[in-house]
């Protein structure tokens, strides 16, 4: 009741004030307010879509090192070109994220920082798009966004908490660490070292000479050729470890699981180990040992309670 009376009083006083203003103000003011209201309503999504962009170019000599630390929720995309230049394009939804970029010789550092701790998750989105020389070393670290690297040659360390990592046609010593992000590595060459808690990994059509994959609960898929003299270790605590090899492959196989099962769908291609060392599974594990071809590469698969599946590609 009291509130209602206050509102009426306020309305009356407003009418009195308005009556004292010139007629021109009385007409234009509501129109101005309406226009501002409409403009702000219409422009907010547009600003959100377009965001803010920041572009920087860094001239480098051979084989630069690019270090990125993205604390925002966003994607890091790295592609290569023939130029001796690193291009960085940063885009963000809000101004609550800031980018620090610096060059020290052939090292480029890009860091995304949260400028305002009250930023909402949707305001924390910041994407980075890089174009680098073909031979570049990378150290990328992000929390939730995707890391995508294509056609880059050089050692790289890629870290993510919840974001996935996609690599295509990259080579070098590749180290990937995630908490729950997955890794898809397509046509990768060199050495690959992947560790995760719940993230899985797919290694497709690789030319890798040394592979070490470990995940506590994710799945592992290796679909490709084993390079002769290569070493391949794949371990999953609870997930499935699946290997698809080709008829031309040559490797020694050692597969062991403590509580899981070994699903051997390639019995016709597996011969007893021909290198003189007689392998036997521990009495506490289910194991499978054998040789495909001459046994030139070494493949070790293990799981705690998941399934190990071995099959030949069609």
């Amino acid at each position: 009741m009291r509130t209602g009376m206050m509102r009426v009083t306020a309305f009356r006083s407003h009418r009195n004030l308005a009556a004292k203003r010139p007629l021109r103000n009385r007409i234009y003011l509501p129109l101005l307010v309406a226009a501002v209201f409409l403009y702000s309503g219409a422009s907010a999504p547009a600003a959100g879509q377009q965001g803010q962009h920041l572009a920087r170019h860094f001239a480098v000599n051979a084989r630069p090192v690019v270090v990125i630390h993205n604390v925002a929720n966003g994607r890091i995309e790295v592609k290569s070109w023939k130029n001796a230049e690193v291009d960085v394009l940063a885009s963000q939804i809000s101004n609550k994220i800031g980018f620090d970029m610096e060059q020290a010789g052939d090292r480029i550092d890009v860091t995304a920082t949260v400028l305002n701790n009250s930023a909402q998750p949707q305001e924390m989105e910041a994407n980075l798009q890089l174009t680098v020389p073909e031979e570049t070393e990378l150290q990328l670290k992000t929390e939730t966004g995707l890391i995508y690297v294509e056609q880059v040659m050089g050692d790289m360390t890629l870290e993510s908490v919840a974001g996935d990592v996609h690599l295509k046609e990259v080579s070098g010593y590749i180290i990937v660490r995630t908490t729950e992000g997955s890794l898809v590595c397509t046509q990768c060459a060199g050495k690959l070292d992947f560790k995760s808690i719940s993230g899985g990994t797919q290694v497709l059509q690789p030319a890798l000479t040394n592979v070490s994959l470990f995940t506590t609960s994710g799945n592992i898929l290796f679909d490709g050729d084993f390079v002769r003299t290569g070493l391949y270790t794949m371990k999953s605590g609870k997930g499935t470890v699946e290997v698809r090899f080709s008829g031309n492959d040559s490797f020694d196989l050692k597969a062991q699981t403590a509580m899981g099962t070994v699903d051997n769908r390639a019995a016709a291609f597996l011969k007893p180990d021909s290198h003189g060392v007689k392998h036997m599974a521990s009495k506490f594990t289910h194991g499978l040992f054998g040789t495909v071809g001459q046994g030139l590469a070494k493949v070790e698969l293990s799981s705690y309670s998941g399934t190990i599946r071995i099959l030949k590609r069609d």
């Binding site: 701790n117 929390e143 908490v161 506590t216 403590a258 506490f284 705690y304």
Partner: protein, 226 residues
């Protein structure tokens, strides 16, 4: 004195003023003078190098764990002692420091892992699987490690209560910590009923390492947020 003697003196006493005999030899030996000049240059240049950057504790932990598992280094057995004495209480206060906590947890994992993985099978359970018997709780591998990690986890929860955060990253950390804890429970159960299952021990060791790294990352994040 011969050139070899001068090298020996330098190796043992450094570039400090050399004995008279060595100085007398150098006065007539160009080779030794050049050698000393080279050493002086190296020391001078080394002095201009920037101070070493220390890697994060977890890098050292992982490296040490790997070396330990490969048998390249060996860690002496930790002294036994189950009771909390006054030194432990003081140590516990010190343990509040995150970096130290991570380092200690890692070293405990390494020590426990190294000792447990190398422990020969007990005589009582040679042979048949049917002879497997459950072991007492105090014999469970990594028991000390588990205790330290659990205490660290409680500290972390207290930190989180002080400043609750529900971002996707925090959710991911919490969810994965639960997964690692569940996996540790599974492995511990397996190892307690089959202490000679080396594969289960290896997974348990890895799980503890992952938990230590995860807790370290979570604490770092909490520290940077609040």
């Amino acid at each position: 004195m011969q050139c070899r003697d001068v090298e020996l003196v330098v190796e043992q006493e450094g570039l400090a003023p050399l004995p008279e005999a060595a100085q007398a030899h150098m006065a007539t030996c160009r080779h030794c003078r050049d050698f000393m000049a080279d050493l002086a240059t190296i020391v001078s240049v080394a002095g201009e190098l920037p101070a070493e950057v220390h890697p994060p504790a977890r890098v050292w932990i992982s490296l040490r764990a790997q070396l330990e598992l490969e048998g390249i280094i060996k860690t002496p057995e930790l002294p036994a002692g189950s009771e909390r004495s006054s030194w432990w209480l003081g140590f516990n206060d010190l343990f509040r420091s995150r970096a130290l906590a991570t380092l200690i947890v890692g070293l405990l994992i390494v020590a426990a892992g190294g000792l447990e993985l190398r422990q020969p099978p007990d005589a009582g359970v040679h042979g048949e699987v049917s002879q497997i018997v459950a072991v007492p709780a105090w014999q469970i591998p990594f028991a000390k490690t588990a205790k330290v990690l659990n205490e660290q986890e409680i500290d972390l929860r207290n930190m989180q209560l002080a400043g609750a955060s529900n971002s996707r990253v925090d959710d991911a950390f919490r969810h994965n910590l639960e997964q690692v804890d569940d996996f540790i429970t599974d492995c511990e159960h397996r190892v307690s009923v089959a202490p000679q299952d080396e594969l289960a021990r290896e997974y348990l060791s890895n799980a503890y390492q992952q938990k230590a790294e995860l807790l370290s990352a979570m604490m770092d994040r909490e520290g940077s947020l609040h």
